[in-house]
């Protein structure tokens, strides 16, 4: 136990004093922040430009409907030929020209309305225009059929389906999206952590082999203690790095949002497009998002995140350590790494594709029990509400497998660290288990 503490301390200090580790710790969040802010800045620049749109309404029904807002400015052209209007629009470098042909009946407008522009227009612009025209056209048809304006006005209201489980839990489509984001983020974080720090453990084992210090050390400590010490030490270094990243990114986003007035992270284009449609609506969405987040099983998610993080990470870490012990150099690791990466990648795919479709389907359930995939898949499922027995079963299975894997990995490790100059095959690894 005393040895374990010594080893963990050495591994930890050695990692965090390493120059490239320090550089990566402070540089990568800056790089990422820089990248995000460049993208955010560019898209905000793009949205701030006022778009000039010429409207040639030969039908005469719609011209008066177009009102300017902070992004779009409409100019109703006097009656003229289409070709003329196009030339004019192009010459004044307008964003585009909306052409509504003259028609005999409103129904003929199904086709024929055209938007001419230099490039493909932004989704938000066309959607906004279509909605205006659609609504007016519908009203016109109704009026033609003798329905009075009051009735028409009463016709327009939004239907929003309330989703509720039998147990009385309210859900919504928006909630599903959020659940996916939360679960996905948790699963993906674990996935990244395993790959980055698993590799780091492997390299540190190989380093001890190539520097030939290993035999001196295991004449003092048990190989298993050395392996566990390495895993824990590297993990602590990893958590330190992650924590620093979170803090730096957090600070940066606070600074950035106050300076630039941007909302980092929610800068997805769809949200921007939505903002174009109407400020009122985007506010409603923001409120709904906040409400949905509070409705997520957050305590459950956070608790399980820690359990799966520890279990899943340690499971893979011991496999990485065993691989490091089996080989002489990093170039020999490929054949052994593939079988480790496969279940991880499968887990992410199952999480992204199957869990979205059907969070409680057979495939999702099975993969959330298999220990090599359960950490990622179950974390993605949990926001959708997973029965407690399934969670417990899966975690117990994970930790049992983890113990088994550590035992197995320690055996390979014990033999492997003293084998030099051989490139082992799987057959040989199995033989080692019997030594």
């Amino acid at each position: 136990m005393k040895h374990l503490g010594l080893i963990i301390t050495r591994e930890y200090l050695n990692k965090i004093r390493n120059k490239s580790f320090v550089v990566m710790t402070f540089l990568s969040p800056l790089l990422m922040a820089a990248l995000i802010s460049v993208v955010a800045y560019l898209s905000s620049v793009n949205n701030d430009t006022l778009k000039d749109i010429k409207v040639l309404d030969n039908s005469g029904y719609f011209g008066h409907l177009f009102e300017d807002n902070n992004q779009l400015r409409f100019e109703i052209l006097p009656d003229m030929e289409l070709e003329q209007a196009k030339t004019l629009a192009e010459a004044t470098s307008a964003y585009g020209l909306l052409y509504i042909p003259s028609v005999d009946s409103i129904a003929a407008l199904k086709k024929g309305i055209t938007f001419y522009s230099a490039d493909t227009p932004a989704l938000g612009v066309t959607v906004a225009m279509e909605r205006l025209i659609q609504r007016q056209a519908n009203a016109l048809v109704l009026r033609e059929n003798g329905i009075d304006d009051k009735a028409i006005e009463a016709l327009y209201f939004n239907v929003s389906t309330q989703l509720e489980t039998f147990a009385g839990q309210e859900t919504s489509k928006l909630g599903s999206g959020l659940k996916l984001i939360f679960g996905g983020a948790a699963g993906y974080l674990l996935f990244m952590f395993i790959i980055i720090y698993g590799n780091m453990i492997m390299r540190s084992v190989i380093e001890e082999k190539t520097s030939r210090i290993i035999e001196v050390i295991i004449s003092s400590v048990k190989p298993r203690a050395l392996m566990l010490g390495k895993i824990f030490g590297t993990t602590l270094a990893g958590i330190t790095q992650f924590a620093i990243w979170v803090i730096i990114l957090g600070l940066f986003s606070v600074v950035a949002s106050s300076v630039l007035g941007l909302e980092i992270g929610s800068g997805a284009n769809l949200a921007q497009e939505a903002a174009q449609i109407g400020d009122q609506e985007s506010q409603e969405i923001a409120v709904a998002v906040a409400r949905e987040i509070w409705q997520l099983p957050l305590t459950n998610l956070v608790l399980m995140f820690f359990l799966y993080f520890i279990g899943g990470y340690l499971l893979y870490a011991s496999l990485y350590a065993a691989i490091g012990a089996a080989v002489d150099s990093e170039t020999d690791t490929q054949q052994f790494l593939l079988p480790i990466l496969m279940p991880l990648i499968i887990a992410v795919y199952v999480g992204v594709f199957t869990v979205i479709e059907d969070p409680h389907g057979t495939v999702s359930q099975v993969f959330s029990f298999i220990p090599l995939t359960s950490p990622v898949v179950m974390l993605m499922r949990i926001p959708f509400g997973v029965p407690l027995w399934q969670q417990i079963f899966s975690v117990v299975l994970l930790f049992t497998t983890f113990m088994g894997t550590v035992w197995l990995a320690a055996k390979i490790y014990r033999v492997g660290i003293l084998m030099y100059g051989k490139k082992p095959s799987y057959k040989e690894l199995i033989k080692w288990l019997k030594y």
Binding site: H3, L6, I7, R10, N14, N18, E207, E208, S211, R212, I213, E215, V216, I217, I218, S219, S220, V221, K222, L418, Y420, K431, K434, Y435
Partner: protein, 311 residues
């Protein structure tokens, strides 16, 4: 009194037998040469003593007690495949390794300072291993091995990588540690070091121990009753022929300031060497009459050759 007793130890890896019922007894205070060709099983045996590998069968006793984890601090081991953390500072690294052997940090620090002074390497404390030469790193490894004052020291090829001057320094340090009460197991292929240092040896070949005991006694047992003789005379051929009629001799060459006939003389066990010497002196002045004593190298080569033929 034996410090280390290896009792019928066997170890196999899969179908390969690394050690086959090997027994050894290392006397307290001795320098014990563990010899054998490459792949004979020496390293496996050493690893078993260090509890790195567990024997399939047999027992090992240290100071009369069955080998147990607490013995780790009683043993200092310098493996043949040795190295240090390249990017760690010398002092930090030595402290870490000493603490793994169970030393308290303050004690380890004091001992390290003492050793670094003694070997004149005090100014390396804050250097990284990658800044040092191979020989320098070897010195640090030596210090780390002996630092915790173990009862049993195991050196596997301790002189490789040292220049003759530093090899001499390390050799005298080993002798001093022995004089201070440590027992040393010494594995090497350099027979002149065995000759110089070891008082006991064991020879391992093809997983079996084929010879062991006190080096002087072994040599005595391997005396062949053969003498190298030089007689100062004028007519070499005639005298060689005359002696050859009475004794079994073969011509041989050795360096001498004298001129004369030189040969190797094989006596039977009935012959009394003194009587033979008297007889030989009638042919001229006997300037050389020395019993041939097998060197460690001879013992090694002969015993291995004999045992390989038997197989």
């Amino acid at each position: 009194m034996a410090l280390l007793d290896v009792n019928e130890v066997s170890k196999s890896f899969g179908s390969f037998t690394a050690l086959d019922r090997v027994s050894l007894s290392v006397p307290k205070g001795s320098i014990f040469g563990l010899l054998g060709p490459n792949g004979a099983g020496k390293t496996t045996l050493i690893r078993i003593v260090n509890q790195i590998t567990m024997p399939d069968q047999g027992n090992v006793y240290l100071d009369g007690a069955p080998l147990a984890p607490h013995h780790i601090s009683d043993i200092g081991y310098l493996p043949e495949e040795r190295g240090l953390y390249k990017s760690m500072k010398v002092g930090e690294q030595a402290l870490y390794l000493a603490q793994l052997k169970g030393m308290a940090k303050s004690e380890a620090k004091a001992q390290l300072k003492m050793w670094f002074e003694r070997l004149d390497i005090g100014h390396w404390w804050d250097k990284k291993i990658q800044e040092l030469s191979k020989g320098m790193a070897q010195k640090i490894q030596f210090v780390v091995t002996v630092l915790h004052r173990p009862k049993l020291l195991i050196f596997d090829e301790p002189f490789s990588g040292f220049d003759p001057i530093n090899a001499q320094v390390i050799q005298s340090e080993i002798l001093r540690l022995r004089d201070e009460g440590a027992t040393v197991i010494f594995s090497t292929h350099r027979m002149e070091s065995v000759e110089e240092l070891c008082d006991h040896i064991a020879l391992v070949h093809q997983s079996k121990k084929i010879l062991d005991g006190n080096l002087t006694q072994i040599k005595r047992a391997h005396l062949s009753n053969r003498f190298k003789v030089g007689i100062q005379c004028e007519n070499h051929d005639q005298i060689f022929k005359a002696i050859g009629e009475k004794f079994s001799i073969t011509p041989t060459v050795f360096k001498s300031v004298y001129q004369g006939v030189q040969f190797s003389l094989q006596l039977s066990y009935q012959d009394a060497p003194n009587a033979v010497l008297t007889e030989l002196s009638r042919y001229g002045m006997v300037y050389h009459f020395v019993a041939e004593v097998p060197s460690a190298n001879d013992l090694f080569v002969q015993t291995i050759a004999q045992n390989s033929n038997n197989n």
